[in-house]
């Protein structure tokens, strides 16, 4: 009761004072569309991208000719101009590509919202589409990468000669230290995987539909990079996911209930490195995610208790835990207790990754998590949480990252 009242007042305050004159709650997600998620799509990434965008436009009942903006993020091989050409989008007045892969997923929505709020575009498509399973496997990392003189290559010079070549290996270094300082165990990481797979088991769109796992299976799965077991790692998927953003005003004229973009934020902080920010004082924290959290709470006036459902980036389970801490769902080092108490399950305090997450549904670099938050706001998720007012989504960790909150339109 107290929580409900607190929620009511904080939302009311948020709406009334329009925190910080930002573009909080000025825009909304009006369409989501995806291809099937598979191990082998059997078609090109461009076909996947165009199919996903077409599906998002159909979902929103918006014509491609109205789209005038595209925001993607790096690793995307389907250039916006080619997607626009295939969709017969006549002109683009805003287009951008955000760096750092999965860390940018929520950033695409934020930059789309900014473009719309600024007037540089009216309808902005954001998408991710690839064959990261059947073509070049994303998880193979920087194996065989040329030892060139470009700055990006040179940063890998500090790690690749020692065999730290894959995303799993980069993340493992954080995980060991986190376990050491927090007392979290491999089983705690396993709880994330088990919950993800439990949600995936009831999601027909999920890679692992009807295939839940037990904690024992997690513990027995082979090592990938200690302390990460196989079942701590999401599996690369083929597939595409697109999201259509417009102003809240236009959204209200469209058929779907608007998923209001209460706020979206990006973050990069001290001595930031790509995947390997190993040189900061405390490598068990995610300060760039804290920066996103601070912005979201500030821009919306909301707090952790105002969030009914979340999609927490889970490419690898260990970094799920400190994200809970950075958003204040628990104290530093106490995410393990939060998990042990069942708080991320359907009947817990914060049902999380109700689509199965990237571990269970598909690894579409966070875009499918945003789509799930939209369904939770609309009330159409296969694992629908009751009375969702606000849904939190986070993007890829250990890189410059982003996060957003979607809310009901009132």
């Amino acid at each position: 009761m107290y929580l409900a009242m607190q929620k009511y007042f904080s939302q009311k305050i948020a709406r009334e004072i329009k925190m910080n004159a930002n573009f909080s709650s000025e825009t909304a997600i009006v369409g989501i569309g995806a291809t099937e998620f598979s191990k082998e799509s059997g078609r090109t990434p461009m076909e996947l991208a165009v199919e996903a965008c077409e599906a998002a436009l159909r979902d929103a009942e918006v014509d491609a000719s109205d789209v005038d903006g595209i925001v993607t993020f790096s690793s995307e091989q389907n250039f916006e101009i080619e997607v626009a050409r295939n969709l017969r989008i006549p002109s683009l007045s805003h287009f951008s590509m955000i760096p750092h892969g999965g860390g940018a997923a929520c950033g695409t929505i934020g930059q789309a919202a900014a473009a719309i709020f600024s007037g540089s575009a009216n309808y902005v498509l954001c998408y991710r589409a690839f064959n990261e399973r059947s073509w070049h496997r994303f998880g193979s990392g920087v194996q065989g990468r040329h030892a060139g003189a470009e700055a990006f290559d040179v940063t890998f010079g500090w790690t690749s000669p020692f065999g730290l070549l894959t995303p799993a290996s980069w993340v493992a270094m954080f995980a060991t230290r986190y376990m050491h300082l927090s007392g979290a165990t491999s089983e705690d990481f396993g709880r994330v995987a088990v919950t993800d797979r439990k949600f995936a088991a009831t999601n027909p769109a999920a890679f692992f539909y009807e295939r839940p796992i037990t904690l024992e299976e997690h513990q027995e799965s082979r090592w990938i990079v200690e302390p990460l077991h196989l079942l701590d790692c999401c599996q690369e998927s083929d597939g595409g996911q697109a999201i259509l953003v417009t102003s809240l005003e236009r959204a209200r004229d469209l058929p779907n209930p608007p998923a209001v973009i209460a706020s979206a934020a990006q973050g990069s902080t001290d001595d930031q490195q790509a995947m390997r920010s190993y040189y900061r004082d405390d490598i068990t924290r995610i300060p760039e995610m804290k920066l996103c959290a601070d912005q979201l709470w500030k821009n919306t006036g909301l707090g952790p208790s105002d969030i009914q459902v979340a999609n927490i980036y889970d490419h690898f389970t260990p970094l799920f835990l400190p994200q809970l801490e950075e958003f204040g769902f628990c104290e530093k080092g106490e995410a393990k207790e939060f998990l042990r108490d069942g708080n991320i399950e359907m009947d817990g305090q914060l049902p999380t990754n109700t689509n199965g997450g990237q571990l269970g549904e598909a690894y579409i670099h966070g875009m499918n998590g945003i789509a799930e938050a939209v369904r939770q706001i609309r009330g159409t998720s296969v694992n629908q949480v009751e009375n969702v007012e606000n849904a939190l989504v986070t993007a890829g960790t250990s890189v410059p990252t982003s996060a957003l909150i979607l809310s009901q339109d009132h």
């Binding site: 998880g139 193979s140 194996q143 990468r145 040329h146 030892a147 060139g148 003189a149 470009e150 700055a151 290559d153 040179v154 940063t155 890998f156 010079g157 500090w158 790690t159 690749s160 000669p161 020692f162 065999g163 730290l164 070549l165 894959t166 290996s169 493992a172 270094m173 954080f174 995980a175 060991t176 230290r177 050491h180 082979r222 090592w223 990938i224 990079v225 200690e226 302390p227 001595d271 390997r276 190993y278 040189y279 490598i283």
Partner: protein
Amino acid sequence: MNRDLSQANETAETASEQTHFYNSLTSEVGSAGKIEVARDSVSEPVIRSWCDAMSESNPLYINQDFANDSKHGGIIAPPAMLQVWTMSGLHLGSQFQRNTEDSPSAGVYQLLDEAGFTGVVATNATYHYNEVIRPGDLISASQKLLDVSEEKTTAIGMGHFVTTETIYSDASGKQVGSMEFRVLKFRPGTGKKSEQSEIKPPRPKPASNSSTDWFWDACNIKELRIQSCNECTNLQHPPAVRCLSCGSVLLDSVIATGKGTLHSWAIAHYPQVPAFDYPLIVGLVELEEGVRLVSNVTNVELEELEIGMPLEVDWLNVDNEFTLHQFKPVHNENQEAEFENTETGDSNDQTFDSGQNNPETESGQRQVLKLDLDNVQIGDELPISPVPVTTLLIVSTALATRDYQDVHHDPKAAQSKGMPNIFMNILTSAGIVSRWINDWAGSEIDWSSIELRLGTPNHPDDTMTLSGSITEKTQHGSQVSLNIAFLGKNDRGVHVSGNAKILLPENSKGD
């Protein structure tokens, strides 16, 4: 029906041919060839070139004054040279060309060559040393064919093992030593693909540019450097183009002490990149200067990894092209052991840095753990010693052992015989193991025997890491003998394993 019959006949004929072939291979088993007398007597220059090639520095072999004062009263030949003195040498087409047709093994080799078993690798050798050999001795050898195996399937290829025994005597006819020797004569191209063509690719080179070259150049001379600011003394890693503390462009570097602690780690199991051995330990090392860097942690068991454990820098030479920093645990449990300085003379020896039993003093000077004659125990370990295998090492040692077989110096010839590249000969494997044991045991011990089993060949750019421990200690009267079990591994597997028996000086207690 007729066709079946003719096929059956062909099969029977083939079987019969095979039996006939094998019978001819074994017809000389048990017989001995004529006694071969060495072309030249044992001489100091030949000993010295062998010691140079092997990096053997035992003064009994090369230092006249030292040897004169020793119990031997003069220079002696390294026991591991036993086989060298009667090698046929290089005198192609000369009147001195040795007639080997009388040797029963030569006849077998010829039959096998003609049947397509043209590849040859030595697989086992056991040397017994009965008497010390000295300059001036004229050694003769008498070889007996002990066995020719049936056709075997091996990793290198289909082939026959040929085993011989050779008795070595001096001019008076006294036996000075013996050798049991086994080679595999194989059919090139019939081995496992992995053995034939899988040459391990090098590690990824550190990507670098003119802003970071100084760091890697320093590694190449085994200096670990940290970027430093000349204005505010800030230290930072990875390097940047400005001081991350004060913004200064006046950046320099300082040499790190190489001491640090393990801040975090990851053990890679999958995917496995051919350049590395798995499980692969990668550590995040916090240097005592306060900066961190990523490096491998070596000389440590997985279960010994512990955050906060003290580490010190070590160096890995990659294909003689670049040097990478590595870190290894600082071990303190051998403090009571006796250390002795050793000079590292040539460039080859510099890279013979040993592993965990080879601590450094505070000044960073290399120390080698020596055999403590009075306190030797079963289970004592010899210092781990990585031996970089270079083309120079393979060729110079082959020549120093008077082994002119083309597979030890000519890559094309080696390839035509089913090997990916030239490879180390067995006399050198024996010589290097002996040299490593001498480095540890000193010049007071005597050699009794050494037995070697050869596995995967040593090719250029391999690193063979020697390790071993004392497995037996026996006493006969006042004589204490030790058995040392040893292993030399390269990246593909075990190159050599076996046992060496040495005798301690009679006045030592051995415990």
